[in-house]
């Protein structure tokens, strides 16, 4: 267990009578790419909300590099190196696309308040934000308010923002949700690139199975808030329990190209 970046012990959360995450104990190794799959309502996003600090568990613990972070705020977890993206687009709508990314860099570089210094005094942040926008093919849209982007473009912006954080642990909640099919390859390329850079341990929630198969070292299958099985993509694909869990659960085997 010494190489685990993040680890949960008997993690449980109840919403009233509903147990969304049920006694979940698992650990994720450093510098791996893990995918979490499972039918809708399996508790995948709730699990991310627990890891990132949006929700507090009913019981159980979360360890990051061996230290208990269960009681820490989202902000403190970001400072430790946990970054996440959101399933529903979650950007700053009236700020420009460029500013959305620049704000991430301002936080990452710990610029601080500097209430009487112009933000333009940090040209390296402005330049890096432009580079990042170029990487996600949004450079020409940098001056627009984020709300003016199409849904797919907002997904790309969301991804650009979380990648710009360069977190040690990167939690990606369905980055391709609601994206047009022809935009998925860009996302695949971004993910491949992020994986190849090797700076982050990546955990991905995803329904598009070929994306999962192409990228993952390990796949976790969540059903009803508990771990059904885990293994390499090939192992999981052959597992009869997984197929059964998905029947009626709505597996989406969408083409990505």
């Amino acid at each position: 267990m010494s190489n685990a970046l993040i680890e949960t012990q008997n993690l449980t959360i109840n919403f009233g009578g509903h147990r969304a995450v049920d006694d979940l104990s698992l650990s994720i190794e450093q510098n791996t790419f893990t995918a979490i799959i499972g039918p809708n309502g399996a508790g995948k996003t709730t699990f991310f909300n627990l890891l990132s600090g949006l929700l507090q568990p009913t019981s159980g613990r979360i360890l990051f590099k061996g230290a208990d972070i269960t009681g820490l705020s989202p902000m403190q977890r970001v400072a430790l190196g946990i970054g996440r993206s959101f399933q529903l687009t979650n950007v700053f709508p009236t700020l420009t696309v460029h500013e959305n990314v620049r704000l991430v860099l301002q936080s990452r570089e710990r610029v601080g308040c500097r209430p009487l210094t112009s933000y333009r005094r940090f040209p390296e942040l402005i330049a890096e934000a432009e580079q990042i926008l170029a990487d996600v093919l949004l450079l020409g849209k940098g001056h627009l308010p984020a709300a003016r982007l199409s849904h797919g473009e907002q997904r790309k912006l969301e991804m650009a923002m979380v990648l710009a954080m360069r977190p040690q642990l990167l939690l990606l909640d369905e980055p391709t949700a609601g994206m047009a099919l022809e935009e998925v390859p860009v996302m695949l390329e971004l993910l491949t690139h992020a994986k190849a850079r090797g700076e982050s341990t990546i955990v991905l929630i995803e329904h598009k199975m070929d994306l999962v198969t192409k990228l993952s070292d390990r796949v976790l299958v969540l059903v009803n808030g508990a771990l059904l099985t885990e293994g390499t993509p090939a192992e999981v694909a052959k597992n009869p329990d997984v197929l059964k869990a998905y029947l009626g659960g709505g597996i989406r085997r969408e083409a990505t190209a």
């Binding site: 970001v78 700020l95 420009t96 500013e99 620049r102 209430p115 933000y119 940090f122």
Partner: protein
Amino acid sequence: MTAKRWLWASYAVALILLLVLPHAIGVMTRELIGRIFILAVFGMSYDILRGYTGIINLGHAAFFGGGTYIAGIMFTRLGTSASASLLAVALAWAFAVILALVMGQFAFRNTGAGGVLACAMITLAFGEIVRHTAETFRQFTQGADGLTFAVPVIFRDRIGMYYYALLFLVVMTLLLRQFINSPAGRVLQAIRDNEQRARFLGYDVRKYKLLALVTAALAASSAGFMFALLTRFANTDLLSVQNTLNALLFTIVGGTGTLYGAIVGTAFVQLVQSYLLELRGIHEIFARWQIFFGAIYVLVVLYMPLGMVGAFLRIKGSLAYWRTSGGNHTRAGD
């Protein structure tokens, strides 16, 4: 770059006009314009909160009125020497910072969905506590009668006071503009847009809100102090919710989240108000100018939600958008 040159030229022309103006107009108009300069800073301080950070502060008048009262009480008790004046300024600022920190400690505690409403209610309570305190301590404040006081000699010349007010407006506009374009100011705008996401970028939202409140409080308290020098009078209306709503009205009419909107809004509201009051000779309904203000308020909210400056910037932004699609990464409101 010609557009920029035109802009500087128009600033220069406006400044020269404002410098010459007090010699060309009557006493009443000069007083009114001096008042506009000072109240505009109060309006801008409110815009920092509502327009840039998304905080509804219903007790903001406590900072403005507090500045006026501290000036008045100090001038009455300690006289109008230079050292007493400096002490008064220091006290007004200390009062603003301390009250802002205490108020914010309570108001920004609730981060959930009800946070905006909780903040409005708590700030309202703080504002009322300050107003009530001023009403109760009659030996210092003269209670509801209001406090009349003398001001230091250098502020007694009326035309001189006009220039001090103008200088105050220019300096405060530059300072607040610098603030909103600072890294901190940019985070405030992010918090206004999406508080949860700001938190997930690692920003300490509560700390930034406190910074916004302290900044706005310092600006409002300074404006209150200048108001004391101009009017030489303080009463508890300055501390009332009504006065906070005046600041809100200035920003809404002029355009929230634009900073300059507060200046335009203040000028508009004050000029219309004084014009309506002059019309009371024609019909006494014009003495009840609040009625017309209610109507203007509703019309602006319905038909001009961005306010005057906001509407102007949007039209300008659309024109620029059609003309070019170049790499301008700054916000339309810069």
